[in-house]
Symmetry: C2
Subunit: 104 residues, 2 copies
């Protein structure tokens, strides 16, 4: 099974889970309450997110708290980095163009 971050965040439910857990650690049941799918299905998503280290588990008795591994999110940011230069470059060029237009 392919298990990279990009495939993990491709699913809208998983992105919603990430957004939920980003605020504070939550148990699978608490997370599942926010969706119209079964707890088991949410559990599967949690497993995928945990396997690619986007989420980390903190057991507490029979409960398991899931929280976001923020550092892992930076890997997506790192990939975006190369393109960020491009769109910043576009703005820089636009600025340059506007400067030239002002002069004329």
């Amino acid at each position: 099974m392919r298990r990279d971050i990009f495939q993990a965040i491709a699913d809208p439910t998983r992105r919603a889970i990430i957004a939920l857990v980003a605020l504070h650690a939550m148990t699978p049941n608490a997370i599942a309450e926010n969706f119209d799918i079964t707890r088991q299905s949410v559990s599967k998503h949690l497993r995928i997110l945990t396997e690619c280290e986007l989420l980390k588990q903190t057991p507490n008795g029979r409960e398991i708290y899931y929280s976001l591994e923020v550092s892992k999110m930076k890997e997506v940011d790192l990939w975006l980095e190369q393109f960020r230069k491009l769109w910043e470059g576009q703005f820089a060029q636009l600025d340059q163009l506007l400067e030239q237009m002002k002069k004329q």
Copy 2:
């Protein structure tokens, strides 16, 4: 068919195509030369990327040049934005902690 940016960038081949086309516009054949899959398969990826507006087409005779729609990439960046605050917050807290340790 689901066609959002996140699903588009989930595929490693498509990410490679994006990286290629980011530098300069390329034709499907030229792009396909960089992969071990058939031209038709690459063409399929190009269609998906174009449909979700990550790539734009520029016809030139019988050739079609594909180039990156940089502005669309920012949508991923926008989604990351909410979490960026988190990891920047972590560093801010770490800085604070280091400051306190220095004082003691």
